[in-house]
Amino acid sequence: MVSPNSSTPGGQPGSAVASSADKTTIPDVVIRLAGNSQDGIQSVGGFLARLAGRSDQDVMTYMTIPATISGGPSIFQVRMGTGDILSSGDQADFLVAFYQHSYESHISALRPGGVLIYDTDHVKPNPEDRRFTNVGIPITSATVEAVGGTGKDKGKNIFVLGLIARIFDLDVPKLSQLIKERLGGRGEEAVRNAMMAFDAGYAHPVENLLGHLYRFARATSTGATTSRPAVTMDGNTAMVYGLLAAGVRYGAAYPITPWSSIMEMLRTELPKYGGLFVQAEDEIAAVSHALGFAYSGHLSVTGSSGPGLSLKMEALGWGSMAEIPLICINVQRGGPSTGMPTSVEQSDLLQALYGSHGDTPRVVLAPKDVEDCFYIAMEAARIAKEFSTPVIILTDQALATRIEAFEEPDLKALVKEPVLDLTPAPVDYKPYPLEKWPKHVPPGTRMLSGKYPTVTGLEHDEAGHPSASPVVHAKMNARRREKIKAVAATLPAHEIYGDQSGDALVIGWCSTYGPIREAVNQLRSGDQPIKVGQLHLRHLAPFAPGLAEIFARYKKVVVCEINDEGLHGYGQLAMLLRGAFANPSIVSVTKTDGLTFKVREIVAGVQKHLSA
């Protein structure tokens, strides 16, 4: 069951169903924890997310980290509940405020009727503001009392975790187990202190303050049974394991937020797999290293965020020209320039497609959720190898950092061990034949013709010899274009969720998948239901075939994306689709506030275009 984020733990009309005198059953809840970056609120979010992954509940999280170097305000928002959780929620049902600034900055994110839990040691809420249920708890002093005098500011996150466990009737044995697993490495005392803080939070009397407690509705069986358990991780982590599963063993990069965690994990993991990852001196050296690994016969990865992708562009153009397989990940963030490094945006699409010089047709992919980060990495590896070409993966900050639970991939079927293929090349071997797409032949390969190939960024003939012939250049440009078009034939057919024809087709890419799905559900089931379908594009270049025919079945094609409406009133993907299909019913819903789409923004955007 999918609920819009209008769940009402306050018992107002809506989706809440009272089941007993002291427990209110709710489908899901959005909890925002607001404190400072060293209060451990991220780890509370992590515990809740992982607990949900091990329970019936689904989960999605959203976090911001401060752009300051150390300390500073930080939040973690977790939405947990029954069924598919598709977005982290438009508004919070519960706000936990550790400090006065947490309260002041985030009270507007709490929906009217929501619950404010605040630390009475630090926060004085506005007594005039009667929109919320105010629950004051001496979080800091109660934690100090429970753990002992030394842990002044430590452990209050776990106290709050206990509090939340109590309020929402969470599985305490499973949570305790998670705490022990997570903190076990720090010794018995750390676990004991944490458990004391947890128990104190759990025992804190909150029923009287809240009026009642909550429990989640039982999951209704969707009929889909899986044999594999759920795993819980963020998008960047899923991307790393996708790369490892695909056989990527080499890579290089330069640190930049929010890409860095991928390179940090790869540097840690790759030696275990017999590979290595180089921290290069700059972005250009990084892509050059990665191309060098790829040239030498290894499946290789580089990555960055916005400005770093710009620096890699010349070398990526070389990769297209020399036809070297490479995976290049771009974790999009707010731009232009240094922009907003810790905020989300989807404004690097045109850069990914056209950022290099000359006519450089490319493959560009985008995952739709955390789970898909794993599969898109494998997909990129497949295309890069099969077509000997650089492949760019566009993910975004929201996907990179949010935590979701998903079904564990079928590793036995998916994991590939890389093989260095040094089969001698035949006497009639040509690296760049006009109508074939041979794989790159790495050094160490004997050339039975006795003639060894030189890969080059200069225009070249079929044998790889540099050539400035007008005829050769025209033919080779066409060859590179047709090669990318050939990728399209290998892509799965488009899947449309909801109405297969009708009023509107809502298109998105990357992290907007969940909010668009919720919006489509709302539009189809509201007071005045309309016929709406959702198409989420994972292959941005080339497109899988059939889009023009699909567009023709709807009155409007509404493209939702987190970037500016541009000079002509269209976001970047909308502009691309308009250019490709010359279809005036393609319209745009865009935003650039650095935040993910709220469901109501998409609903309003679609309604506006339909009534226009």
Partner: protein, 320 residues
């Protein structure tokens, strides 16, 4: 689509170089005719490089030559080996990755003074620090030749070019000093007119276990004629060759250069142009290749050589 099936039997394959095979000879190594101007110093460097490869006799398929952009960077087209022509200034990180990824390969990078000291200056510095096993040959002509005479980072003060019609005003790069400072483990210098010396320097560089650099003064006859005559005895110049210590106990040995002495190498590097020729510095420091291999071995030991599937399965269990 994959490459076409092997259409010739392996027995007929030309297997050249390496133990038990036909030795590498110049005729095997010659590829396209060089596009350099008649009289260019780079011809001599190429001829010397053929001799180096003949002496080393590596399996032909395991030789890799890479370059950036510029006249000298056309080098890989003229050597019949695997190789390529990368973007301007970036051949070092590219070639270093080939070496790191494949211990079985012998990696050579080529470039000019613009590619190496200007656009690729940052990479030169970090390649020296990282000490990846490879050899970098810089053909220094102190001018941008391919683009027809602009100032290069090694052009002397007062040099007149299209970008400095009133004479260059910036302090030229001192390659030897720069490389020593950056921590390169093999630093040598030669002159394209001194073929035997140049061959010896490249041979020693190729045999060095680490990042080795040979700077070769290679005259551009079109745009910087006579630039290095001051070091060419046949043009009335003075050839100041570094005599290396032999540890033979003779009195004259005391005056010879100890290439492991960084201070003494720096003193040679500080001499006025055209300066000294020979091995300035040669020490052994663990290569990045070795350090990374050791790291892999250590971690593989910890994971008891688990397969990728086993590693991923055990990781995902922790994610539940």
């Amino acid at each position: 689509m994959s490459s076409a099936p092997v259409s010739a039997p392996l027995a007929e394959a030309p297997a050249i170089g390496g133990p038990g095979r036909a030795p590498l000879a110049k005729k095997t190594l010659v590829s396209d005719h060089p596009t350099w101007c008649p009289g260019c110093g780079d011809f001599a460097v190429l001829a010397s490089f053929y001799r180096v490869l003949e002496k080393l006799n590596y399996p032909q398929e395991n030789i890799v030559t890479f370059a950036g952009i510029g006249c000298s960077s056309r080098f890989p087209y003229f050597v019949n080996s695997h190789g390529g022509h990368f973007i301007h200034g970036r051949s070092l990180p590219f070639a270093a990755a080939i070496s790191l990824g494949r211990d079985d390969l012998h990696v050579f990078a080529f470039g000019g003074d613009g590619d190496g000291f200007s656009i690729g200056g940052n990479h030169l510095f970090h390649a020296a620090r990282k000490n990846t096993k490879m050899t970098y040959v810089i053909m220094d002509n102190s001018v941008y030749g391919l683009t027809k005479k602009q100032t290069s980072p090694t052009s002397p003060v007062g040099f007149k070019s299209k970008t400095d019609p009133w004479g260059a005003m910036e302090q030229p790069v001192n390659p030897m000093k720069t490389l020593l400072t950056a921590g390169a483990t093999f630093v040598a210098r030669s002159h394209a007119t001194q073929v035997n010396h140049m061959t010896e320097m490249m041979l020693r560089a190729a045999q060095h276990d680490g990042f080795s650099v040979v700077e070769i003064l290679s005259e551009c006859v079109e745009f910087n004629e006579g630039a290095f005559d001051a070091a060419n005895p046949r043009k009335g110049g003075k050839w100041q060759q570094i005599e290396l210590k032999k540890n033979d106990g003779t009195p004259e040995d005391a005056a010879r250069h100890d290439p492991t002495d960084e201070f003494s190498a720096m003193k040679l590097a500080l001499a006025d142009a055209p300066g000294y020729f020979g091995v300035f510095y040669e020490v052994n420091r663990p290569t990045k290749n070795k350090l990374e291999r050791d790291l892999i071995a250590r971690t593989r030991e910890k994971t008891k050589g688990a397969s990728a599937l086993q590693l991923l399965e055990s990781t995902f269990v922790k994610m539940r």
